[in-house]
Amino acid sequence: MAPSQQEIPLQLVDEVVIRFAGDSGDGMQLTGSQFTDTSALLGNDLATFPDYPAEIRAPIGTLFGVSGYQVRFASKDIHTPGDQPDVLVAMNPAALKVNLSDLKEGGLLIVNTGNFGPRDLAKAHYEENPLDDPRLDQDYQLVAIDLNAATLTAVESTGLSNKDALRCKNLLALGMLYHAYSRPLAHTEKWLASKFGKKPQILEANILALRAGANIAENSELFKTVYQVDPAPLPKGTYRNIGGNQAVAMGLVAGCKLAGLPLFYGSYPITPASDVLHALARYKNYGVTTFQAEDEIAAVCASIGASYAGSVGITGTSGPGLALKAEAMGLAVMVELPLVVVNVQRAGPSTGLPTKTEQADLLQSIFGRNSESPMPVVATASPADCFAAALEAVRIAVTYMTPVVLLSDGYIGNGAEPFLVPSADSLKPFPIKFQGETEDFLPYARDPETLARPWAIPGTPGLEHRVGGLEKADLTGNVSYDPENHEKMIELRERKVNGVANSYEPLEVFGPEEGDVLVLGWGSTYGAIRGAVNRCHENGHSVAQLHLRNVWPLPNDLGSVLKRYKKVLIPELNRGQLSRLVRSELLIDAISLPKVQGKPFMATELERHIETLLAN
């Protein structure tokens, strides 16, 4: 049914994937996150995937300078930011070239023709203007519009220079999409007011551009259809939109509140973990002290010092930083003090691809220290899940007097989704009691259940004692070179860490309790696996999902669960690290599905692999 000129139809859809793409200076991350926040407040379920270059302001118009932000919003339960965008906003030729192949056939393609001059085309290595190719209009719903000119007109009254005025063009594009997807402008206007409150001229220009975008879209009937995406039937409760790194910070603060201890966060700036430091630095009124250290080693050492003095010492980093912290983490193993090491993984080795995602630090986290230095490892599955995972890491660290690694990654850390906020009374406190009793005090005596040693902090009269990196005599903690004692202490530390598994909740699978294929995952593969398994269920296949929050020590019931399925598939953004563990620890012939492209799995590619497994 062709719409009449006067009547633009409103179509109800259950999900949309939009990708905003432009220069790294074009404000695409801001545009995407504003669209996300507005959609969250409308009650959509959503997932995002910011994808940006390492260069803060790469040379304008270049292919490597393209920054993208993908948001998927839906009226149903979703788990990934979507495999293919329905809508691509390309602010320049480079953005078009990098992203066009991902756009769904027939998808909406909005192109800013204002940046398609000969020089722009040359920088993107286009020999001819791709907009002149008639196929573009046939394969996609092409909306070619000069956003630059429209922005200059819209903000003319503010008297801003052309250069400053053009900075508002992302808001104009955002306004257009707000109209196309029936979103109100109010949230973004409020946000702009708080951001540019002290710069009224800039504020006015941005608001004018935003409104102009919505008006142009409506008045010039830019889009053949206007869409509506209703709120998702999410479980009851209070929600907020949250990014992964922010949720880690919140979870760490909550964990320390539940432990009843102050939080000390020592960190050195590193992509993509710095946002955890930024977020915690704002929580000073929650008993949080942040310390931007001179290097990664100082960051972890200061955190160990803070734990020694009675705070929960936490440090955060990404893979290369974890390597630098390894020796100090071994010290924390030896002195048996709580420590949480947040590792927001990125693609490596070495500096690798700092802004791209990977989960290849699993074995480094578990084993990457000299000698036998066991350490629990907790992994977060999604941006919202970071809260609970961080809380779990704090719980283990203070309950067992041990360093813990919390694994996140760039995909989770920079992504965002709705977070069902738990009520304060639903979170179980784990209050910590420092050693106070001086009678018969032994620094390395152990709690019979957890094998944790007492936490005896400086300032407590009568408990003066010495700790250090030299091997400890059992009980007294004095330096000991006794061979039997060394073996006993190695074994004790290992038993203590293995005992953490006794505190896990029983494993729960998603899907049939037994069957043909179990897809086992950990970390950020959660959403893609869930999407793929859901599709397998729709096709009537016997496929289940098991996702590990506690990656080390492995859960006690893992082996028995895995054995209920004919095949175990382990997709990982590494060369098969969990697969190695499952094979060596459980003697289960798991099938590894590795991917190391700096990009997350797509649900469709996982579905394809599962189908292949089922067919063979």
Binding site: T238, Y283, N285, I297, S311, P458, V467, G469
Partner: protein
């Protein structure tokens, strides 16, 4: 809780651990001096945290009956920083050596100085790596034959005092292992200083670098080879204090006691401290000991605590409830 000042004797700071330094090591004298000094401060002994890295000197915490932390190579200032920020009420002392502090841990040392953390660093300088059997260190005199420099060390050394001055330490002093009265005085001054205190202790290693500072510290020569700098007093040296020092427009020179300049540890730039610690290398000018610099600067652990208090006062104390209800929320019913 009692607020009485505790009275201690040296033995109250002696731990039950057997001291394992080589017989004749300068560290014994330093340990004795530190234990005596700590006993005199009137600070409850549970409030001392003595933190070390790796090396002969870093065994020190085991022998002190206080809270102690023998950590990893070079990292003691970083660990101490965390301890002090987490509990500013503690008296945090770092014991380190020339390799530990100036080589592997150089970065932590200069940044602790820059931040003016209220921690006290005792650097035992014996100009050699002792625990690893005698390699040249960042303070070894060029030309020295060691296992790792069999044809003579080629490295130029650091002057720890000028390094500390350059990094902006608010208290910089030097003393000698065997001059216990002076050592106690300097350590007491470090204790009383608000902010970072750096004390270089010239220390002998009888095994690998015997007589490292003999030309400065031996009884027969030390009156002529040392000048004990006292704030606000003339710079005098010699057995009978019969020689003086004074700054000239270009350098530093020996003069009569009447002409001697007055030492100021809190000069506006620290330029004189820098000049005198450099000049000592030329042989004619005596080696300065005592307090080379002492100034007041904002102390990081205090400013950190104050910022937390200020933010808490202005935003209100955060609770689990307020944490969970923060941000823009919506309800699904």
């Amino acid at each position: 809780m009692t607020t009485e000042t505790p009275t201690y004797k040296k033995k109250d700071f002696v731990s039950d651990q057997e001291v394992r330094w080589c017989p004749g090591c300068g560290d014994y004298a330093i340990l004795n001096g530190v234990q005596q000094a700590f006993a005199s401060f009137g600070v409850p002994k549970e409030k001392f945290a003595v933190i070390s890295g790796i090396g002969c000197s870093s065994r020190f915490p085991y022998y002190m009956d206080t809270f102690g932390f023998h950590s990893i190579h070079g990292r003691a200032p970083a660990i101490a920083s965390g301890v002090k920020i987490a509990n500013p009420d503690l008296h945090v002392w770092v014991v380190t050596g020339d390799g530990d502090a100036l080589s592997i841990g150089g970065n932590h040392l200069i940044h602790a100085m820059r931040r003016n953390m209220d921690i006290k660093v005792l650097l035992f300088n014996n100009r050699i790596y002792g625990l690893t059997k005698g390699q040249y260190s960042p303070t070894t005199v060029p030309g020295k034959n060691t296992p790792s420099s069999p044809y003579g060390s080629l490295d130029e050394p650091f002057n720890p005092i000028s390094l500390a001055l350059g990094a902006g330490a608010s208290f910089v002093a030097r003393t000698v292992d065997t001059q216990i009265k002076h050592l106690k005085e300097v350590i007491t001054a470090a204790h009383n200083h608000k902010g970072f205190a750096f004390v270089e202790i010239l220390q002998n290693c009888v095994i690998f670098n015997d007589g490292a500072f003999g030309h400065v510290t031996d009884k027969e020569v030390r009156d002529d080879r040392q000048v004990d700098l006292r704030d606000g007093q003339p710079m005098l040296f010699g057995k009978e204090k019969d020689k003086g020092l004074r700054f000239t427009s270009k350098s530093l020179e020996v003069c009569s006691p009447e002409e001697a300049g007055t030492w100021q540890a809190d000069g506006p730039t620290g330029a004189n401290a820098f000049r005198i610690c450099q000049a000592c290398e030329n042989g004619e000018i005596p080696v300065p000991i005592g307090i080379l610099r002492q100034v007041e600067r904002p102390v990081l652990d205090e400013t950190v605590t104050k910022q937390v208090q200020d933010v808490t006062e202005s935003l209100g104390e955060g609770t689990l409830e307020s944490l969970l209800s923060s941000g823009e929320t919506w309800d699904v019913s």
